[in-house]
């Protein structure tokens, strides 16, 4: 391994494990953990004999001998640590009698007898003698400075597992069994428990290894109950405590405390390898992975909560179990306010989602214990019930109800089946209007009020948590406002969600608010007022990272009724900010919509499970140990386990899924996808070659300077021109950029607002501006002061001088700024404004119209279809090309419509309706981006993709517009590719991209891959 263990990493690990471990130990652990400090810490803590194993295995006799230990004993005797003072003091004062009420914050868990072993010879202890316990040195904060010598502390580390007991009169007597020591030490260290003890019986004169029977009482600190934030904060521990062994459950077991209500799921269940694998044959597996079913069962039992272990009935299971037999799902009618008819499989999904949201226990949920928790009655006279999470070791006095369990799931139907509409149906069925009850936050508010980060196990652990970015989760919960449904989607789908909701429901039946943009309000009340809030992953991540600074407001101040993550694979990377941000949201019901729940790694699933609170799998340690690692090692069982986890919470149908009668749920006519290759005409070829040569020279310069990635934008521009050239050479001569100032008044205003940021001298005079603007308004031709020709692609300088873009830029020594040739004022390139004109082309395209090869190709195809009466959609990425294509379509008497990004939602609808209904309209010109999603164009049965797009998925999305639910005719899709041009090479890049997506590449590899990709295009 070439990776270097840095001093930083060692320091990080040491801050947690303490000074007891040598640098070498830590380095070793880091190596084993691939330099992941968290994992390394776990290795150290999980391996009792991690450091100097030889010494650890020594006999008690030997351990008492070395100087450091003697040292520690004398410490305990003469100058006891503050803790031992307190302990022995209380022992002396109250005596060790059992059941003695402890101070208010300490609760007696249980007393038990422990067989200690004598480590001394000749000392005495008699029944009833109070003993005090000395815990390993790591109890004291690391770097206490008491043992500056590293060698010594290393020796001390050798007995870090040993808990000694001593009497006041004789000092050290012996040690308690390792088993006890192991679970007591960390708990005492974190001040979660304390121990009192007295001797029950012992030989009169002690010899080495003699048994000393002790009675010990273990008290648990009340603060421990508060620290555990059960809602979103639970997972905060997991990345650090990858360990799946927790001392507290162990201690309870050793003390002989039996739960009066045992956890349904235990780690032991999962570890037993004998457990049958096939979930079908094994209700047990389902019990583990199907908490929903369990709790329904429990709630049915009503009071008989203790009754456990019964297998859930097959029918009960089948009702929910997804993939395999989803055809058997019941159908559920959507509310009438839904303005469209659901297909049977969509109604099934609605039923399924509704069932999952109930959590199976609509009434009993709050009173049924969460299957991962056990309930214990403490021995303390005050009669406290403590709940213990058998997976995380968390303890609480609050009732952990099943409400905290995953309510929701993964809707993983493949693209085109209508996940969005199914979700909207769900939103309508159970709107969960803002302001509704939010039992979790309300019930837990009281106790959570006073919890803070300081309740963390130890300052050291806290440091680790902050490293992994989870510290925010530790933030104490403030009062949360009850909200409605939150939909998180990629930015590109924001509009679509809003539009889909608006089109598919009766207006006014759900209020929708889009939470997006720089100036978005942070008022939580606004969220609460709306039934549905739509936002993007980007907004979520930024509000998450801003959460600490702006305590009030934002998405995190709301307890959502329901969260829907659209394209949920966005959060797949568990360490990513967005994944953490999503998991940190507070909600009752959580849904993931994704066509690809696993994109490349099983870890993708972990992130979804964590978001959905599918216990116990949101514990990464457990996940890693039982699933991830075995899976990566090729263990079949892990895969089965994943499947059995997913089966109950995931619904996945594909277009070929079948219904009860075995008929496909979705019958789509065949789609024929063809790629039409053709050559450019000789004239076009000349033009293309010239352009290509020029571009290549520039590109080669960048390569030579090693600045390819710095000039990414310029290179893309070069490519853009080449690609446009394949469509039509006119496009290359089109004016490339924004229409921002096409409104002349806006333009004038921009100039005249002047004086704010510059000397008033620099601002052109009002009269001059008015003249310029008037010229432009009148369409005054004017000439460029440099080329003395009519303006070509004119730009306006901030000083209101008009020049051809080319001329101006050519006059500058560097590409980004220069002086105005007219007035010598220094100007930046980005300050240039494209002067508005009528036409986006430099030449009169109408008058000079020439068909490009591609356009001829299209016309030829359309002509063939003309008699059949079938409708066609023509996609291009460039609206300028749509402009151009209008000319020949007019001339050849095709009736057509156009749909592009300039249309608003109503206009779009009108166009689509007209296209669908008017049989005389045969062609729809559409920009690829505008037509990307959410539009149903099944009236057409032909699609022509005029130009290839980088991302094949975008093309596919476009094609999906016609090949989708409702299509009755067979569909033909033709992609036009010009041979021997950048288009053809883009195809190769597309294929490469697919490979890149599937294989994980490092950043460096991606960078070089990008350069390679670009080089490919310029060959």
């Amino acid at each position: 391994m070439a990776t270097k263990v840095t001093a930083d990493l060692i320091e990080t690990v040491r801050s947690v494990v303490g000074a007891d471990f040598s640098d070498m130990d830590i380095i070793r652990a880091l190596h084993m953990a691939n330099n992941d400090p968290t994992a390394a810490i776990n290795i150290i803590f999980d391996t009792p004999s991690f450091s100097s194993p030889a010494v650890d295995r020594t006999t008690p006799r030997k351990t008492s001998a070395p100087p450091p230990v003697t040292n520690s004993v004398s410490h305990a005797n003469k100058t006891p640590t503050p803790k031992s003072i307190e302990r022995s003091d209380s022992n002396r004062r109250h005596g060790p009698s059992e059941g003695e009420p402890s101070s208010a914050d300490w609760w007696l868990i249980e007393s038990a007898q422990v067989a200690g072993l004598s480590t001394c010879k000749g000392r005495r202890i008699k029944a009833g003698d109070a003993v005090s316990f000395t815990f390993p040195r790591s109890v004291s904060p690391p770097k206490s400075g008491k043992f500056p010598g590293r060698g010594r502390s290393m020796a001390a580390a050798s007995c870090s597992e040993i808990v000694r007991f001593s009497t006041i009169d004789f000092g050290e007597i012996g040690r308690i069994p390792n088993e006890w020591a192991r679970c007591l030490s960390p708990l005492v260290k974190e001040r979660k428990v304390r121990v009192e003890g007295c001797c029950v019986s012992a030989p009169d004169v002690l010899g080495i290894m003699d048994m000393v029977l002790l009675s010990i009482s273990v008290y648990i600190n009340g603060s421990m109950f508060h620290k555990h934030h059960r809602t979103s904060l639970k997972m905060s521990h997991q990345p650090t405590e990858g360990s799946v062994v927790h001392p507290l459950p162990n201690l309870f077991r050793l003390l002989g405390l039996t739960p009066f209500k045992k956890a349904e799921l235990t780690p032991e269940d999962l570890y037993t390898r004998k457990r049958p694998l096939d979930p079908k044959d094994s209700p047990g597996v389902h019990a583990v992975t199907l908490p929903l079913e369990k709790c329904r069962k429990l709630s049915d039992d009503g009071s008989k909560v203790g009754d456990e272990g019964e297998a859930i009935s097959d029918s009960d299971m089948d009702r929910i179990v997804g993939v395999a037999d989803s055809s058997e799902l019941e159908e559920m009618e959507p509310p009438t306010i839904l303005q469209c008819v659901l297909r049977p499989y969509q109604k099934q999904a609605l039923y399924w989602m509704t069932e999952l949201e109930k959590g199976g226990c609509s009434d009993g949920a709050a009173t049924t214990i969460h299957p991962c928790w056990s309930a214990y009655q403490l021995k303390d006279k005050r009669g406290l019930v403590v709940y213990l999470n058998v997976f995380s070791g968390d303890a609480t006095t609050e009732f952990p109800s099943t409400l905290e369990m995953a309510r929701g799931g993964i809707l993983a139907d493949s693209m085109g089946l209508g996940k969005t509409i199914m979700t909207i149906a769900l939103l309508l069925s159970h709107p969960g209007k803002g302001g509704s009850v939010c039992p979790l936050s309300e019930s837990s508010n009281g106790s959570n009020e006073d919890c803070s980060i300081s309740d963390q196990p130890s300052p050291d652990l806290k440091r680790i948590t902050s490293i992994s970015g989870f510290d925010k989760l530790m933030k104490s919960k403030k009062l949360l406002i009850g909200g409605g449904s939150l939909i998180v989607c990629p930015m590109t789908l924001l509009g679509q969600w809003k539009a889909e909701i608006e089109t598919h429901i009766q207006s006014g039946s759900l209020s929708v608010y889009v939470h997006y943009g720089q100036s978005r309000p942070k008022d939580a009340k606004l969220f609460a007022q709306n039934d549905v809030v739509i936002t993007t992953y980007g907004v979520l991540a930024s509000e998450y990272s801003a959460e600490n600074t702006e305590e009030s407001g934002g998405l995190y101040s709301v307890h959502w009724f329901r969260i829907v993550l659209d394209e949920a694979h966005t959060i797949k990377s568990a360490k990513s900010q967005i994944s953490i941000a999503a998991a940190a949201l507070t909600a009752e019901r959580r849904w993931c919509l994704t066509g690809t729940p696993i994109q490349n790694n099983v870890e993708d699933i972990y992130s979804l499970l964590r978001f959905m609170r599918v216990e116990p799998w949101s514990n990464f340690g457990l996940w890693n140990k039982l699933i991830q690692k075995p899976f990566e090692e090729g263990n079949e069982r892990a895969l089965k386990l994943i499947q059995s986890i997913l089966r109950p919470i995931m619904l996945r149908r594909t277009k070929s899924s079948t219904d009860k009668e075995g008929k496909p749920i979705l019958v789509l006519p065949p789609a024929d996808v063809q790629v039409v290759y053709f050559e450019l005409s000789a004239a076009e070829k000349d033009f293309y070659e010239a352009l290509f040569k020029r571009s290549k020279v520039k590109f080669d310069q960048f390569v030579e300077q090693g600045r390819v990635l710095h000039n990414y934008a310029s290179i893309l521009e070069l490519l853009l021109r080449l690609r446009q050239c394949c469509d039509h050479p006119f496009l290359v001569m089109s004016r490339g950029d924004t229409q921002e100032f096409s409104d002349l008044n806006k333009l004038a205003k921009r100039f005249l607002k002047g004086g704010q940021d510059a000397d008033s001298n620099d601002v052109p005079s009002r009269a001059y501006i008015q003249e310029v603007v008037e010229d432009i308004r009148k369409g005054e031709k004017g000439e460029c002061p440099i080329c003395l020709e009519a303006f070509e692609d004119a730009v306006l300088t901030p000083c209101a001088h008009r020049l051809c873009r080319e001329c101006l830029l050519a006059s500058w020594r560097n590409a980004t700024s220069g002086v105005c040739p007219v007035c010598r004022k220094t100007i930046n390139r980005q300050d240039l404004i494209t002067a508005p004109t009528e036409s986006r082309f430099q030449i009169d395209v109408e008058k000079n119209w020439v068909e490009s090869s591609k356009v001829s190709m299209l016309l030829h195809e359309l002509e063939l279809l003309r008699s059949s009466g079938s409708k066609s959609i023509v996609f291009s990425q460039w609206t300028a090309f749509l402009d151009l294509m209008q000319i020949p379509l007019h001339r050849c008497n095709f009736t057509f419509l156009r749909l592009d990004g300039t249309l608003n939602q109503q206009q779009r609808e009108r166009v689509i309706n007209q296209f669908t209904e008017d049989s005389s309209i045969s062609v729809l010109l559409m920009s690829l981006k505008a037509g990307g999603v959410g539009i149903n164009l099944t009236a057409a049965s032909n699609a022509f993709l005029m130009d290839p797009w980088w991302n094949p998925a975008v093309e596919e999305q476009a094609v999906m517009r016609i090949h989708r639910i409702g299509q009755t005719k067979s569909v033909t899709i033709k992609r036009f590719i010009v041979k021997g041009t950048v288009e053809e090479r883009m195809e190769a890049v597309q294929a490469r991209k697919q490979r890149m997506i599937s294989g994980a590449l490092t950043d460096q590899e991606v960078r070089s891959a990008r350069i390679e990709e670009l080089k490919m295009l310029f060959t």
Binding site: I786, C787, E789, P821, V822
Partner: protein, 153 residues
């Protein structure tokens, strides 16, 4: 031949210079090199050069209009900003050149320079010194030279 590939701008400028010449200035391209112009500037009235006809040569370099034209007096002239080789000290011919300037504007600027000599930014130190120490005498010399060399003979 250089003329075969003459930029549109130069052709346009030439046409305009010929069809609407600036007062007191004439410029015509050479027959065999369209980038080479024979220029005549009349000495401005109320200047020491009044009555003189000054010949200049003007050459448009390959980079024109991104680079300034090269202009030189052929007629001997007594002027602090013009040296004995006829080279002209004028900012727009050097660092202040802008492609928005043209042959016409350059020549008008030179004409203006004749009206307003600038001895503070001299090209010819002796003449400048003369101008500053004894302007009347210097002006007389200039007039003398104009009569001697620029009388249009």
């Amino acid at each position: 031949m250089a003329n075969s590939n003459l930029p549109r701008r130069i052709i346009k400028e030439t046409q305009r210079l010929l069809s609407e010449p600036a007062p007191g200035i004439s410029a015509s391209p050479s027959e065999d090199n369209m980038r080479y112009f024979n220029v005549m500037i009349l000495g401005p009235t109320q200047s020491p050069y009044e009555g003189g006809v000054f010949k200049l040569e003007l050459f448009l370099p390959e980079e024109y209009p991104m680079a300034a034209p090269k202009v030189r007096f052929l007629t001997k002239i007594y002027h602090p900003n013009i040296d004995k080789l006829g080279r002209i000290c004028l900012d727009i011919l050097k660092d202040k050149w802008s492609p928005a300037l043209q042959i016409r504007t350059v020549l008008l600027s030179i004409q203006a320079l004749l009206s307003a000599p600038n001895p503070d930014d001299p090209l010819s130190d002796n003449i400048a010194k003369h101008w500053k120490t004894n302007e009347a005498e210097a002006v007389e010399t200039a007039k003398e030279w104009t009569r001697l060399y620029a009388s249009g003979a």
